[in-house]
């Protein structure tokens, strides 16, 4: 019985360590991506407005670029969601590996 208590204690420690590594990385990356996207959007809108005023792009083209930006924001969100799912799967795989190691000793 004391073996099991030790195994569970060890697994708990492994899970916490794995979760901390994966989550901290993900939050940091997602925040950086979001901030970069907002900065980029401000610059792009300025550039496109200037191009339209100068007659170099049509209002329809400006509209298409704005719609493209909106769709890219959704894409970035979806990618972040997918990456989070991948991290969860990696975390589970890591937990399974460490648990097997502890059981097989």
């Amino acid at each position: 019985m004391s073996d099991i208590v030790e195994i569970v204690k060890g697994i708990k420690g492994d899970i916490l360590a794995l979760a901390q590594t994966h989550c901290a990385e993900f939050v940091k990356e997602a925040r950086a991506d979001g901030e970069a996207f907002i900065d980029e959007t401000k610059d792009d809108l300025g550039t496109w407005a200037t191009l339209m005023v100068a007659g170099k792009i049509s209002p329809k083209e400006l509209e298409s670029l704005v719609r493209g930006k909106r769709d890219l924001a959704k894409m970035t969100f979806l990618k972040a969601k997918g990456l989070a799912q991948i991290k969860i799967d990696r975390l589970v795989a890591g937990i399974i590996d460490s648990t097997i190691k502890r059981i097989t000793g």
């Binding site: 083209e61 670029l65 719609r67 769709d71 990618k79 799912q85 399974i96 648990t99």
Partner: protein, 137 residues
């Protein structure tokens, strides 16, 4: 003790089978890379009349539709499917919407081409980037 270990192994096998997202797929990856390269090459010609490039546009459209359908059919692949849906949406601002604009306008402005190319490149890169991050079998 042995019984508990067997039970834990069984539990691990069950949990291990419950992935939240599809695994890496070489065909999906290649399909996205090929479509990216061919689409961007075609966009370079969009300063010319749409009518001169209609067959190439149709070819890309059909291949992109097939890519979407392929992704839709893969289990646990909602995120990638949604990304492709955005890419090919004719009312959107990426590949599908670009083709509609080109067709309706006849040609597009030279200053518009590099800006739209950047967006479509980025869209494909998000799809390709996610696929390449997926866990390999």
């Amino acid at each position: 003790m042995k019984g508990i270990k067997v039970l834990m192994f069984g539990l691990l096998l069950f949990v291990g089978g419950c992935a939240t997202i599809s695994r890496y797929d070489q065909y999906s990856y290649m399909q996205a890379v090929n479509l990216k390269v061919d689409s961007l090459k075609l966009i370079d010609s969009s300063g010319e009349a749409y009518s001169n490039h209609k067959p190439e546009v149709q070819d890309i459209k059909v291949r992109a539709e097939k890519a979407y359908e392929y992704e839709k059919g893969r289990p646990k692949n909602q995120v990638t499917t949604d990304m492709w849906k955005l890419m090919i949406d004719p009312k959107g601002g990426l590949l599908g919407g670009f083709f509609v604009l080109w067709e309706e306008s006849g040609t597009v402005s030279p200053a518009f081409v590099p800006e739209k190319k950047k967006q479509i490149t980025r869209g494909f890169d998000e799809i390709i980037g996610l696929e390449s991050e997926k866990i390999k079998k």
